[in-house]
Amino acid sequence: MIQFNQVYKRYPGGHEALKDVSCGIAEGEMVYLTGHSGAGKSTLLKLVAAIERPTSGSVLVKGQNIRSIKREAIPALRRNIGLIFQDHKLLFDRSAFDNVLLPLQICGFDPREAAKRVRAALDKVGLLAREKANPVALSGGEQQRLCIARAIVNRPNILLADEPTGNLDVEYAHEIMAIFQSFHQVGVTLVISTHDEGVLQNFPARALHLKQGELQ
């Protein structure tokens, strides 16, 4: 599903975020990305979603090479990838419902069908009762779950989560990991970056450890 071959990523200014990274992630697999902050976890996720392009080497996502992907082909790629951000990236000018609706609007869904899907996604993350709330009014854990609902509403094959439990208490973190586990069970490919030891122990899976941009 995802294949890295001798990938280097150097940012303008000379910082080398990834050095000679080669690895593969199979379809339906759940994989952790671990390492200190600045080890290159976020960069690796950004390469998969074509937010950044590799400096050299190839990144294949569902057979498409991110290094040479055309600008026009990126939207279609991203519709197949659910992105979960540490800072949530929610829009505060609209309700929780409308935040989750956005990916479906982008795909041009029928409004009634879309509303059903949005409610199903909100139900899945336990926020159905808060659909009219503005994201500002939600707690950190609720905001994270809203971000997950938005990422899954379009039923993507791949979910990328960047430090999804980063700022949360253990209880919230476990709730969120349980949600991820349920996606893993229905065959979604999951890549979760984390440095949360508790999470790694309670929800064991293969871990890719990055250290200063190199895979250990």
């Binding site: 937010i51 939207p75 279609a76 990236k89 829009l91 956005l102 982008i106 041009g108 379009n154």
Partner: protein, 301 residues
């Protein structure tokens, strides 16, 4: 169906966005309207002048001076030929005696003409053409010049040419004004949309991250520009119509004193439609420039 629904959704959203800042929206719509009403007003004035010129009904004349010594039968034959011509509405014959008499009466040159040993004036036909087109008139003059016994054909079209030249000048001035103010309108929309893109930066970033195409992101801005332009066009229409109404009310008194029913014409339905379509297009164009200029700069990091 899917596309239509999407367009309707974006249209509704753009309307809501306009209404959400009524003060700012009203101001930019009014500025647009005032800018557009200047050339539109000029256009209406020109149209009215043109119709005034048509209503005066004074078509130019062509005077045909006949060669001296032309026989009465030849004159009669020429008259018939002229009357049968397609481009000629009416023909008058002025004999040399009548012409001399007219000259004595009208110009007060009786003393001078009385001193003449013989009448120096030729017989003449005054031709009233059907057309008012300067070029067609000249062609007719040239044709008549070639008729037998016609010594000289003179077209009295100087005043018509002056009027045409003035109207042409007016048209050019209005066209230049329209071009300049259209540019201003595009610039106004450009800036409005630029500010909107900046304030909606986060939304654009998120939309790109979850797979929005450039078309999808561009669409609401284009609609907004188009809507603003259209409303500007409507306000220009209202402004011009209002001003015409007020002017015609006072012009009516003036015209009555001159026993004329002259009035400034209001915009025809076709002109009104053209104004609205054009203003909407200018708004769209400004938005398009702005979006192409600024949207690519926003890439998620």
């Amino acid at each position: 169906m899917k596309a239509l629904r999407e367009h309707l959704r974006v249209l509704r959203e753009s309307l809501q966005r306009l209404l959400s800042t009524p003060g700012a929206s009203l101001l930019s719509i009014l500025v647009t309207g005032i800018a557009l009403s200047l050339p539109v007003g000029g256009y209406v004035l020109l149209q009215s002048m043109q119709s005034l010129d048509a209503r005066l009904g004074t078509t130019p004349q062509i005077s045909l001076y006949l060669a001296s010594g032309t026989s009465a039968t030849a004159i009669e034959k020429l008259g018939e030929k002229l009357r049968g011509h397609d481009a000629i509405a009416a023909v008058e014959f002025v004999s040399r005696d009548a012409a001399l008499k007219q000259l004595q009466e009208s110009t007060g040159l009786a003393d001078v003409t009385a001193g003449l040993a013989q009448n120096p004036l030729p017989d003449a036909y005054i031709v009233h053409p059907k057309t008012r087109e300067p070029a067609a008139l000249e062609a007719l003059r040239d044709a008549l010049q070639g008729y037998p016994n016609v010594e000289h054909a003179q077209l009295d079209s100087a005043w018509l040419r002056k009027l045409e030249a003035m109207l042409d000048f007016g048209r050019l001035a209005v066209a230049l004004l329209a071009a300049m103010l259209s540019f201003a309108l595009v610039a106004i929309t450009f800036n409005t949309i630029r500010l909107q893109i900046l304030t909606r930066r986060q939304e654009i970033e998120v939309a790109k991250l979850i797979g929005a195409t450039d078309t999808f992101i561009r669409r609401p801005f284009l609609y907004f520009g188009m809507l603003q332009g259209l409303l500007g066009g409507i306000s220009a229409w209202l402004l011009v119509s209002g001003i015409l109404f007020v002017l015609n009310a006072s012009l009516g008194d003036l015209a009555r004193l001159y026993a004329s029913n002259f009035a400034l014409q209001s915009l025809t339905p076709a002109d009104s439609l053209a104004l609205l379509v054009f203003s909407a297009y200018l708004g769209w164009l400004g938005a398009w420039f702005s979006v192409s200029q600024h949207l690519w700069q926003i890439e998620p990091r």
